[in-house]
């Protein structure tokens, strides 16, 4: 039975094609616009730029002019690395305990650990500020790391649980019956299989920490400034064109990181 090509078919293609096209445009154009703007010669954000130059990149890399930005970048990296390391350790352990369990406590914990994804984290940021000040701790980088861990753990947990659900439990039994201890089995059997999941989660968690505003907004101070907050105030007050250059650097380094991650995760997948 041949399907008739009706008016409905044509309108389906037209309408959905157009909407998907709009979606693609909305996703791609902003990134291109930022990249092009970052090479502007002008002091304004006019688009397209009247002339191209590297002046904003030069200004951004100038150690004196942009000292504040450099400190913020350094702090952001320190916080993102530490928070990711803690989140991966705690998250992977918790994923091993939760994955595949139907017990009420496992479901409850899963809901709790995932809740930062669907709660307004800004409320948590304020709560963390009140908590640490009530305890009498001055705002500092370690506190910021603790605050970030809670909001980035869900990313590690989600991908690790997903990869654990593909793990054949028979393999673990085989390993145990061959005399391997629990830790040895974890290191030689479980870990190689779930490593891509952990790494993917760690990558997203790292990006989320680097990009976090809702928690940093309350926990960042003059002593522990971070990049998103610094950029936000640059945009808020003066529409500083250096933000375009920072954006350009961020886009390039993330693209590089994605390629590297793809190599690593792809590589481990091939080995396992």
């Amino acid at each position: 039975m041949a399907r008739r090509s009706t008016g409905g078919d044509i309108s389906y293609r037209l309408v959905l094609g157009a909407l998907a096209g709009v979606a693609l445009l909305i996703l791609v154009v902003p990134v291109l616009v930022v990249l092009i703007t970052s090479f502007t010669d002008s002091r304004s954000l006019r688009f397209p730029p009247p002339a191209l130059s590297l002046r904003w990149y030069r200004s951004l890399f100038d150690p004196v002019q942009s000292a504040q930005i450099h400190t913020a970048v350094w702090n952001s990296l320190v916080i993102a690395f530490s928070a990711t390391a803690i989140a991966v350790t705690l998250g992977t352990a918790a994923a091993l305990g939760i994955a595949g369990r139907r017990a009420w406590w496992a479901q409850t914990l899963d809901g709790l650990f995932m809740s930062p994804l669907v709660l307004p984290t800004l409320a948590f940021g304020l709560a963390a500020l009140m908590f640490f000040s009530t305890l009498g701790f001055p705002l500092s980088i370690p506190l910021m790391i603790l605050g970030h861990v809670a909001v980035i753990v869900p990313f590690v947990l989600r991908t690790t649980i997903a990869s654990l659900s593909q793990l054949d439990r028979g393999l673990l039994d085989t390993s145990a019956s061959l005399g391997a201890g629990a830790f040895y089995t974890f290191r030689r059997v479980t870990l190689p299989i779930i490593r891509p999941g952990i790494l993917a989660g760690a990558f997203i968690a790292f990006m989320a920490s680097l990009d976090n505003v809702s928690v940093s907004l309350f926990l960042a101070g003059p002593e522990n400034d971070v990049l998103p907050i610094r950029m936000w105030s640059m945009l808020e007050s003066t529409l500083d064109v250096r933000t375009a250059a920072v954006s350009g650097v961020l886009i390039f380094s993330t693209a590089l990181l994605v390629v590297v991650m793809d190599r690593i995760v792809g590589l481990t997948r091939r080995i396992s």
Partner: protein
């Protein structure tokens, strides 16, 4: 996981699970402890502070909540914030679902490239994304240039500082949160279902609304949840693209806490936002469970 249990003999699965699985449960302890100390305790304190009577932390009582409820301004801020979330969800769903369908129908070799485009916003910092929209939506921005070039408008239209501009920007910023769950559910659908529907004489619209969409609902609901929660709390985009004209909950909370140092009222605002978002999320979740049960049965 469920499927494996259903397929295998339950008795064997049970026996296999006993000894090492019991101990593995203890591995959740460190994270549970961490959440208790650094997530639940702060939120508990937040709830406590919201019950303080004065900004100087004197007395206990629901006065801050009464203050919130007594002023129409507060309700309008809350309403506008939640409405912004709803509008963003609607726009992202309307253009996200077609993009998801396009992704599923695209040739295999094109899919990685499409997926990269879809996650692109996740890979660029939220400030970068917001910055991009300032350039696009500004008076001399890309959009106004294009519209005036096409002769659609004669004078630049104002988009920065308006809710329309904010919704457009947020729909890009939040799009991956909609598409990733949607695509993961759509890719598990049996492609034969669509052919079967066509063979039975249904047109493509009918197949979309009667077969594909109902079966993708769990992914769509998950996507809507994430987009809603994220756009409601998107401080940077709200303050920079929304501008000073629109007061939304995140800015209101931030202002009360850090410029006016009224912690009890800031805590109250946070609790109100938290509870409202939680209510929306729970409702949507229940809806999602219902549809999942429908799809399974």
């Amino acid at each position: 996981m469920d499927r494996a249990v259903q397929q295998g003999d339950p008795a064997i699965a049970e026996r296999r699970a006993v000894a090492p699985r019991e101990r593995e449960g203890l591995l959740t302890l460190p994270l549970a402890l961490f959440f208790l100390l650094f997530f639940l305790a702060p939120l508990g304190l937040l709830a406590g502070i919201s019950l303080r009577v004065t900004p100087q932390f004197a007395g206990w009582g629901p006065q801050q909540y009464a203050k919130f409820a007594g002023d129409a301004f507060n309700w309008s801020v809350l309403g506008q914030t939640l409405l912004l979330g709803v509008k963003t969800v609607v726009v992202t769903a309307c253009i996200g679902v077609p993009l998801g369908l396009l992704f599923m129908e695209a040739p295999r070799r094109l899919q990685p490239a499409l997926l990269f485009i879809i996650v692109l916003p996740l890979l660029t910092s939220v400030v970068v994304r917001t910055f991009a929209w300032i350039v696009i939506l500004g008076r001399e921005g890309l959009l106004n240039n294009v519209l005036m070039g096409l002769g659609v408008v004669t004078t630049p239209i104002r988009l920065l500082g308006t809710e329309l501009g904010l919704v457009i920007a947020l729909s890009q910023i939040e799009m991956p949160l909609m598409l990733l769950p949607l695509i993961s559910v759509m890719s598990r659908l049996d492609p034969n279902l669509k052919d079967a529907s066509a063979a039975l004489g249904a047109g493509r619209w009918r197949t979309l609304f009667r077969v594909t969409l109902p079966l993708s609902l769990p992914g769509l609901v998950a996507g809507c949840l994430l987009v809603f929660a994220s756009s409601v709390t998107a401080f940077v985009s709200q303050t920079i693209i929304g501008g000073g004209r629109m007061v939304l909950m995140p800015f209101y909370i931030w202002q009360q806490a850090t410029t006016l140092f009224n912690w009890p009222f800031a805590a109250t605002l946070s609790m109100v936002l938290l509870v409202s978002v939680l209510a929306v999320v729970t409702t949507l979740n229940a809806l999602g469970r219902r549809t999942r049960a429908l799809a399974a049965g």
